[in-house]
């Protein structure tokens, strides 16, 4: 009887000790996770804010494309440059797109296709509609591009 009782108590003690260790480990792990979470949150928040600003940069692009006044253009390029400088400090960079680039869905989003004659351009990028951006290596918005297609 006593032996059984003792064994039971030892078991119980082990179980409690195990539970205690687990609880302690969980707390330590939680703290580590929490640190990561906070860091992640900081990046996430910054990314969200930057994303909200992207349409403003787009508008500069559209304005520059449609303006014919060189003086006015110069001013706009300078203001755009200021904005880009701020972005650069946050690790944001424009995705470079050139005609003839291979389509890559990691950084490009195909918006439409146009008929082309040059067979070399089949499936390749023939134009950029809206610029894309990466932030610290992560695509925050893919470049929206037009793809060539042999009719």
């Amino acid at each position: 009887m006593d032996d059984i009782q003792e064994e039971k108590e030892i078991d119980e003690t082990q179980e409690y000790l195990d539970g205690w260790k687990r609880a302690k480990a969980e707390l330590i792990n939680y703290k580590k996770d929490e640190d990561k979470r906070v860091q992640h949150l900081v990046i996430y928040t910054a990314t969200q804010v930057i994303k909200e600003f992207l349409p403003v940069l787009d508008s500069f692009d559209f304005a520059l494309n449609s303006s014919k006044d060189e003086e006015e253009k110069k001013g706009m390029i300078l203001i755009k440059g200021q904005l880009e400088e701020v972005f650069k400090k946050q690790g944001v960079e424009r995705i470079k797109v050139s005609v003839g680039d291979e389509f890559d869905s990691n950084i490009h989003e195909a918006m439409n296709q146009v008929d082309i004659d040059d067979k070399k351009m089949e499936g390749k990028i023939v134009g950029e509609l809206i610029a894309g951006y990466v932030m610290n290596g992560q695509t925050i918005r893919p470049a929206k591009v037009t793809i060539g297609k042999i009719n």
Binding site: R22, A63, S66, F103, A110, L129, Q138, K149
Partner: protein, 621 residues
């Protein structure tokens, strides 16, 4: 033991979650998003991609980009639904040797479950990368109307992806689980799921921990995307009317508008008006044209009122199908991003005669969260030998004016301890009474007294100067130790209360309900006490200031202050909150005059510095 993944495998988007600690947590995919497009593609470079990457290239590769496979899984090729969907799905589909469906991607034919398996494979890989551990098991959700074949096919998809499917559960059941409604007894629940492309309603009945689907219904081609389309059409037409320019043929303009519409729709869920501002959207001979238009929430609601009414009508029918009336329904759960729209929430609430639908969990994530809850039940998590209790009610002490100051808030997990420093209310007070209270009410007299003791031997000092540390310590058995210590003399007094948590469930509930029903009254009472306390404090300080200033203070100011003091004294014991506030303000302004006056006359002000920090310039004299 490795974690079991909860997966909401949707028609257009999927989400996945795991149980972490005591709650479900949505995991982000490799692209950093909380939802993953349910799309698979074989790219022109002969690479198989799933999720967002498949979506980005879909335009250039429509034949080899597979989506909406959930509309096909487990169905026979001749199924009416399948035939309907084939009319608009851009990829090739054929009848399999067994009469099922086969989809062509590249030059191979796949079964729908194989396509779903590719999505699940990506989800599995992303979850493993996020968690840093292997995932081998999953709980996957399906619509309540899925038959056995569809369920089996979904299960097979999981197995192909290398996941042991612990259970296939219904999406509405998962939503109810996420809100913990499975624990309720004999409840009838309506789940209203307005997604991007589909609308589903289910009626559930919970009894003995079993959730039973009583009826389902919906519209497989009604969703939030329709709202976007309607907004876009409206804006294009308005612009045409205003500017005479048709942007519907301008691809880039339309694309920009589409994104702006999506943003505007989200914004109108929280504000009543938004502006769509797209500079240089187009141009004519006169130069560039801009798109600037204000859109009100009312206008949006007007545009989609037909769809909302339709959804409510469907819901009404589904409730009837279950053999219930709307007054039988105990709980309403909203699922799907579009339910964030206030008009939908209000329409549902109005239908149920003002009964509030559940809110709180992100409606895009509620199904995946519920799947994770189910996974957590299988996991059993860590065996809870150490069942940690919580304090059912707040614990605190009585402070100046009969107020109950809480040290340990209700629902604090125990063991726990908390220390706070208090002081005396009167000059040269040598003892303080520690009156230990339990309950949520603002005033001490409304709460339960657990114990009282006196700490004496406090060194005589002006009021507010002595520092008395009061500490509460509850051990794992709910035994409360309260001690009070005078920081100066070190004198300590304590009491042990054995049964601080041993209230019956009914008692606790009653006390909580009591507190809730008196909340407003109590707050007012508490405010009155706070105002009275600060009035008293001000009187004390003012009287002291006059005394300290002695002859230095001009008689007229002194007289004015005394007048204000007696004025405040006469109102402070009445219960007119506004009168006390007013008299306090007046005295406070007047006493500042004294300060100013003294500093004007006094060279290096020393003694008064303590009393008046409002007008003590550090430079000038």
């Amino acid at each position: 033991m490795s974690k079991i993944l909860g997966i909401d495998l949707g028609t257009t988007n999927s989400a996945f979650a795991v149980m972490e600690g005591t709650g479900p947590k949505i995991l982000e995919n490799a692209e950093g998003n909380r939802t993953t497009p349910s799309m698979v593609a074989l790219t022109k470079g002969n690479e198989r991609v799933a999720g967002l990457l498949a979506k980005r290239q879909s335009i250039t590769n429509p034949k080899n980009t597979i989506f909406s496979v959930k509309r096909l899984i487990g169905r026979s090729f001749d199924d009416e639904q399948v035939q309907g969907d084939l009319k608009w799905l851009p990829f090739d589909v054929q009848k399999s040797s067994t009469g099922g469906v086969e989809i062509k991607m590249g030059d191979k034919w796949y079964k729908p479950e194989e396509i779903s398996a590719m999505i699940l494979g990506k989800i599995k890989a992303d979850a493993e990368a996020k968690l840093g551990e292997k995932i081998e098991e999953a709980v996957i959700t399906v619509p309540a109307y899925f038959d056995d074949t569809q369920r089996q096919a979904t299960k097979n998809a999981g197995e192909i992806a290398g996941l042991k499917v612990r259970r296939i559960i219904n999406e509405p059941t998962a939503a109810a689980l996420a809100y913990g409604l499975n624990k309720k007894k004999d409840e009838k629940i309506v789940v209203y799921d307005f997604g991007g492309g589909t609308f589903d309603v289910s009626v559930l009945e919970v009894g003995d921990d079993v959730v039973e689907v009583k009826s389902t219904g919906g519209d497989t081609h009604l969703g939030g995307d329709d709202f976007d389309k309607k907004m876009q059409e409206y804006l294009v037409n308005e612009y045409k009317k205003q500017e005479g320019i048709d942007i519907s043929t301008d691809f880039l303009a339309l694309q920009r508008l589409k994104e702006a519409v999506e943003r505007a729709k989200h914004e109108l869920s929280s504000s009543t008006e938004t502006e769509i501002n797209l500079p240089y959207i187009s141009s004519d001979s006169a130069g560039p044209k801009h798109f600037v238009m204000r859109l009100s929430r009312a206008k949006l609601e007007d545009l989609v009122s037909v769809e909302i009414e339709k959804s409510v009508k469907v819901m009404d029918q589904v409730i009837k199908d279950a053999g219930f009336t709307k007054s039988d329904i105990n709980e309403i759960v909203l699922v799907g991003g579009q339910t964030r729209m206030p008009a939908i929430y209000e329409a549902v609430k109005k239908y149920f005669d003002g009964k509030e639908p559940h809110l709180g969990i992100n409606p895009d994530e509620v199904v995946a969260s519920g799947a994770a809850v189910q996974a957590g039940i299988f996991q059993g998590d860590v065996k809870d030998v150490l069942l940690l209790d919580v304090t059912p009610l707040s614990l605190g002490i009585e402070t100046l004016g009969g107020v109950s100051t809480k040290l340990i808030e209700k629902n604090t997990t125990i063991p726990a301890n908390k220390m706070q420093t208090f002081s005396t209310a009167g000059d040269n007070q040598t003892s303080v009474e520690i009156h230990i209270l339990q309950g949520e009410r603002e005033m001490a007299s409304d709460n339960k007294t657990l114990a009282r003791f006196i700490l004496d031997g406090v060194a005589p000092a002006p009021r507010g100067v002595p520092k008395i540390d009061v500490s509460f310590d509850i051990d794992a058995n709910g035994i409360l130790n309260v001690s009070a210590k005078d920081q100066t003399t070190g004198k300590t007094q304590s009491v042990k209360i054995e049964a601080s948590t041993s209230l019956s469930k009914e008692e606790v509930e009653k006390l909580k309900a009591d507190a809730a029903s008196h909340a407003d009254d109590d707050k007012k009472k508490r405010e009155l006490v706070d105002v009275k306390n600060s009035a008293e404090q001000l009187i004390y300080v003012s009287e002291k200031s006059i005394k300290d200033a002695g002859d230095k203070a001009p008689d007229e100011i002194k007289k004015k202050i005394e007048e204000k003091i007696s004025n405040l004294k006469s109102v402070k014991d009445n219960n007119d909150l506004e009168a006390i506030k007013k008299a306090t303000d007046e005295l406070s302004t007047t006493i500042q005059e004294l300060g100013k006056d003294l500093y004007k006359e006094e060279k290096p002000p020393e003694a008064e510095k303590k009393e008046d920090d409002q007008s003590a310039p550090t430079e000038g004299e």
